[in-house]
């Protein structure tokens, strides 16, 4: 990898971690709204959208485990929304693990 690319990736990685902190806060807040029937649909959409974004970039920036789990979470939510056999407990467990991994990715830096 050339120096210019390494420097560029380091810059984006820093930005990703700053953004990840905000995304983690949104995930936590949205998770808390899953029990509220009126807010649940919007909360699920929000979590899915954040998982999608993390899944799209984390791997390229060196956060492979976080990216892979974000993809699993997104996939589980999409299956759940499509009416496939993914239950609520599974979705919640995936989201909790995603929040946890996001936190660990930040603290490891």
């Amino acid at each position: 990898m050339n120096t210019e690319l390494s420097a560029g990736l380091a810059k984006v990685r820093t930005r990703f971690l700053i953004e990840l902190e905000k995304r983690r806060a949104v995930l936590n807040y949205a998770y808390g709204r899953l029990d509220d029937d009126a807010a649940r649909a919007e909360a699920i959409e929000e979590i899915c959208s954040i998982a999608h974004k993390i899944a799209g970039t984390a791997g390229t920036l060196g956060f492979g485990e976080l990216g892979a789990h974000a993809a699993t979470t997104e996939d589980a939510i999409r299956q759940h929304l499509d009416g496939q056999a993914v239950d609520d407990a599974t979705i919640r467990a995936e989201i909790i693990q995603l929040i946890d991994l996001a936190g660990r990715s930040q603290s490891n830096e």
């Binding site: 690319l5 984006v12 990703f16 899944a55 970039t57 984390a58 791997g59």
Partner: protein
């Protein structure tokens, strides 16, 4: 190469900007939505050479954006690389059906992105060279109608269901996993004596005849999921699902029947008689994507060989040629 990259995620836009600059692509414009991309494309006087689109975006998604651009003159053939986290076959199929040139899944590997962009860059350079050599054929000017047909070119055929560019078809196979290709087959169709038939014909006649053949193939594949691409001369490469039920002879008869129904003519009113020969299919079960592309190439060779091997007595041949060229 002037690039427009569209993604609603700011981190991806920054990442692409850094990577593309480091790879030597200095002219990169970023957009955060389909609508912003359309506004930029409309406002620019110097068209972009390559477009990179995400699929999942609020408002207009990347697939709708491809469809919209393929209906414009400026971007009908511009290479479009989808960069998306949507790896499901339904998204891959929809993107290629809409006119995508290539597809790469996020998180992307930088080396892989680099190699795909190099291929696109080579294609852009080759097209520019062709355009410089023969500006009339590329200008869409009326006199292009009378230019002699260049049958070696792989044609860009529009408005026929399931018909995509040849490069896109190869990229489609390369993108698919072994599991996704399971149950599919590849085969090819060759127009017999294409070189003879179109010797002396115009580019216009060649383009329209090949579009008609593509339509005949597409019509006969309608019940299935499929892609067809013109592969130069009178050759077409095809991929179809439920490959085990594909019957070569039955399909050849169906295409021949459809071509007869089309009742084709040259510009001067002479009837144009086209005979299509279909290769044996190759089942793609458990093949790797690269091996699937090789299988496709093999069926193209086979279709050509079968077309060339068809017995035609000199007398019949003469009658055939007279019927075509008077």
């Amino acid at each position: 190469m002037k690039i427009l990259a569209v993604d609603d995620d700011e981190i991806i836009r920054e990442l692409l900007s850094e990577i593309l600059n480091a790879l030597g692509y200095a002219s990169v414009v970023l957009a955060e939505s389909g609508q912003e991309a359309l506004d930029i494309l409309e406002a620019t006087t110097d068209p972009f050479d390559c477009l990179l689109f995400d699929i999942q975006m609020p408002g207009m998604d990347g697939i709708s954006l491809v469809s919209q651009l393929r209906n414009t003159v400026e971007y009908a053939r511009t290479p479009i690389l989808m960069i998306t986290a949507m790896a499901d076959r339904k998204y891959v199929d929809s993107a290629f059906a809409a006119g995508a040139t290539d597809y790469i899944t996020k998180p992307f590997d930088i080396q892989e992105l680099d190699s795909r962009l190099k291929l696109i860059d080579a294609l852009v350079t080759e097209r520019k060279q062709q355009q410089d050599r023969n500006p009339v054929n590329w200008s869409g000017a009326d006199n292009a109608i009378m230019n002699p047909a260049d049958t070696s070119q792989r044609l860009h055929i529009v408005d026929v269901d399931g018909v995509i560019d040849y490069l896109s078809l190869e990229n489609y196979l390369l993108q698919m996993s072994r599991a996704a290709l399971f149950g599919n087959c590849v085969f090819s169709v060759a127009v017999k004596d294409a070189k003879h038939i179109f010797r002396g014909a115009s580019q216009y006649e060649f383009q329209f005849a090949m579009t008609d053949v593509a339509e005949a193939i597409s019509d006969c594949l309608k019940p299935f999921k499929f892609f067809v691409a013109h592969a130069g001369e009178g050759d077409f490469a095809c991929v179809r699902d439920t490959g085990r039920s594909f019957d070569q002879k039955e399909f050849q008869t169906a295409v021949a029947q459809r071509l007869r129904e089309m009742d084709l003519y040259y510009c001067d009113g002479r009837p144009m008689v086209l005979h299509a020969v279909v290769s044996e299919p190759v089942q793609l079960d458990w093949r790797s994507s690269r091996s699937s592309v090789n299988a496709l190439l093999k069926t193209l060779q086979n279709a050509e060989s079968e077309a060339n091997a068809l017995e035609t007595s000199p007398k019949q041949n003469g009658a055939f040629t007279r019927r075509l060229f008077g």
